[in-house]
């Protein structure tokens, strides 16, 4: 279930955990966080003519004025311009009771999953103070060449997921639901006809001529990204169209998006924390927590508020969320 145009509410570039919860393997439970295994293209920011980074803002379609987060509500369109209003709590109430858990009740041979089902991949990194259960599950799954299958809810959508172990690292790969894949009949493709013999021979000869043994990764490079990067490097060298970093440190902090996903993953797999990369329970000193909380994305803050069951969280502004979480952690 998409959250569509409200995705932007929590649009932040810091690589962070998409989900934190428990993998249940029998009675063994291992706390994990999910990090995306994919990263976007070269990140570019929207700026105005003078190079000032712009922010997205929601405006009321009728009153034409900017709206705060707490003035927004989600609506489902029944018919043109008639909406059912849906509160966050109402959606949460529909989540499975163990919505923070991926319960591995079924394992299938890895090769039995048709690859067309795979949708998106996430790395699982161990949370908590020991990696033993994580390593044990990864090793035994890899030895057995099995994938664990489960369903779970993340970011307002239910996912079917295959947990796969490779190189001692666990991955969660979301799978498309059966009814999300169209069968060929639904497309209205013509019935297969046996090919003309001569044509088939020619086709086979042409294919044989250009058959290779292995994939050449360089062929997966994006020429557009490459030429864009070249252009950027050229500008950096000449200094043309380059604005120096702003002087006030706070602004610079808000702008830079250089904590690399790869770096975060490397640290987290070794059990080290990278600041701002993970929703964690608030500590004793509320005042001292504020700066750390400020580094988190609104989505993370909201998820934290959800965990702490802070009432009224869906109507809170970012700043209110930060304060409420800090208070709840006292």
């Amino acid at each position: 279930m998409g959250r569509d145009d409200d995705e932007q509410l929590a649009d932040e570039e810091q690589p962070h955990a998409f989900w934190s919860g428990i993998i249940a393997f029998g009675l063994v439970s291992l706390p994990v966080s999910l990090f995306p295994a994919h990263r976007g293209h070269l990140p570019l920011k929207m700026v105005d003519a003078s190079g000032t980074p712009l922010k997205r803002q929601f405006f009321c379609g009728k009153e034409n004025r900017p709206l705060e987060r707490d003035e927004l509500v989600r609506g489902y369109e029944l018919e043109k311009e008639r909406y059912v209003v849906v509160e966050d709590e109402e959606l949460e109430a529909l989540e499975p009771e163990k919505s923070r858990e991926i319960d591995l009740k079924r394992f299938v041979p890895l090769a039995a999953i048709n690859p067309i089902y795979f949708e998106r991949a996430y790395f699982l990194v161990p949370d908590g103070d020991t990696t033993k259960a994580y390593r044990l599950l990864a090793k035994s799954m890899e030895d057995e060449q099995k994938a664990g299958i489960a369903t779970f809810v993340m970011r307002g959508r239910e996912y079917l997921v295959a947990i796969i172990a490779e190189g001692g690292i666990l991955r969660a790969e979301t799978l498309r639901f059966y009814d999300e894949l169209r069968p060929p009949e639904a497309i209205g493709l013509p019935e297969r006809q046996p090919a003309d013999k001569k044509r088939l021979q020619r086709m086979r000869a042409a294919i044989r001529k250009s058959t290779r043994k292995q994939l050449d990764r360089a062929q997966l490079d994006d020429p557009q990204t490459r030429s864009l990067m070249q252009r950027i490097e050229k500008k950096l060298k000449s200094g043309k169209d380059v604005l120096p970093a702003p002087e006030e440190p706070e602004a610079a902090e808000a702008e830079s998006n250089v904590i690399d996903l790869m770096q975060v993953l490397k640290e987290r797999l070794q059990g080290r924390q990278v600041q701002g990369s993970r929703p964690e329970p608030a500590k004793k000193q509320a005042g001292g927590r504020l700066p750390a909380l400020r580094k988190r994305s609104t989505r993370e803050l909201y998820e934290q508020a959800q965990k702490l069951a802070i009432p009224g969280r869906s109507k809170m502004t970012r700043e209110e969320l930060i304060e409420a979480i800090a208070r709840a952690g006292k």
């Binding site: 700026v47 709590e89 041979p109 990696t131 033993k132 169209r182 702003p246 830079s256």
Partner: protein, 258 residues
């Protein structure tokens, strides 16, 4: 009911030309919401605002910036970005053929069925050849100002083009170090493997439904009829003790229910 083609192109390699139409093989079944202004239930619109002046900047007047590690901004205008876009073309160029599944699924993005565009003799010859030779093609094409790479293969008897992630978009698992720790206990490893074997089943994708989505749709229709719906607070799960102990207990449970 026939689906609508999203694009038309021409597969090309070594003198072969196969005109095809692309159809999305996935169906979006998500429940879509709009953001509304709570007071008047008017749909919101988004605008780009300069945070210092609160001035709205029209999209046409925006530029882009690449921000370096040091925080320097490299400015790019829309015209120069457009000039870097790939040339439009109808060609689906095949860079080469590979043994079936030589392209690992971690590269996969979205699948598209290919149907014939007009003349279908070459289309069926391609389908037969791909199937008989157990190969897949690595394809490159430009669709809607974007360069794609894809895997051309047979799925349920029909040619399919699966768009792939570009190399820089995939984090290579080889570049990561797995978590370290003291050596694993052989007995516990054996127990874990036993438990996996006991829980083994066939993969039956039909057996899973998006139940949450169904509940959301039910709730929406109840609300549309003017009913009130319940809310509840999330629950916490209790934590477990010793791994070996938990594995043994899990095996006992699995045996009982087997």
């Amino acid at each position: 009911m026939a689906a609508r083609a999203i694009w038309k192109g021409m597969i090309r390699f070594d003198g072969v030309r196969v005109p095809v139409k692309l159809y999305s093989a996935v169906e979006d079944r998500s429940v879509h919401f709009r953001l509304l202004h709570r007071k008047d239930l008017a749909p919101v619109r988004q605008a780009l605002v300069n945070p210092q002046t609160d001035q709205v900047v029209p999209f046409e007047e925006t530029g882009r910036a690449y921000i370096t590690e040091a925080g320097d901004r490299v400015l790019l205008d829309q015209a120069e970005l457009e000039a870097l876009e790939p040339q439009p073309s109808r060609d689906i160029e095949i860079l080469g053929f590979l043994p079936h599944q030589a392209i690992d699924h971690r590269w996969y993005d979205r699948p598209y069925y290919l149907g014939p565009d007009g003349e279908s003799a070459e289309y069926f010859a391609l389908a037969d050849a791909l199937e008989a030779m157990a190969v897949e093609g690595l394809a490159r094409w430009v669709m809607r100002n974007k360069a794609y790479v894809g895997a051309l293969q047979i799925y349920q008897g029909y040619p399919m083009l699966i768009s792939l992630h570009h190399a820089e978009e995939v984090i290579p698992v080889e570049a990561l170090e797995p978590p370290q720790g003291p050596p694993l206990d052989q007995r516990e490893l054996g127990l874990a493997r036993q438990l996996i074997e006991m829980l083994e089943a066939e993969f039956q994708p039909q057996a899973y439904r998006d139940e949450y989505r169904n509940r959301v749709l039910e709730m929406l229709s109840a609300k549309a009829r003017g009913k009130r719906v319940k809310t509840r607070a999330p629950r916490q799960r209790e934590r477990d003790e010793d791994v070996g102990h938990a594995l043994e207990a899990s095996l006992r449970q699995a045996r009982k229910s087997a």
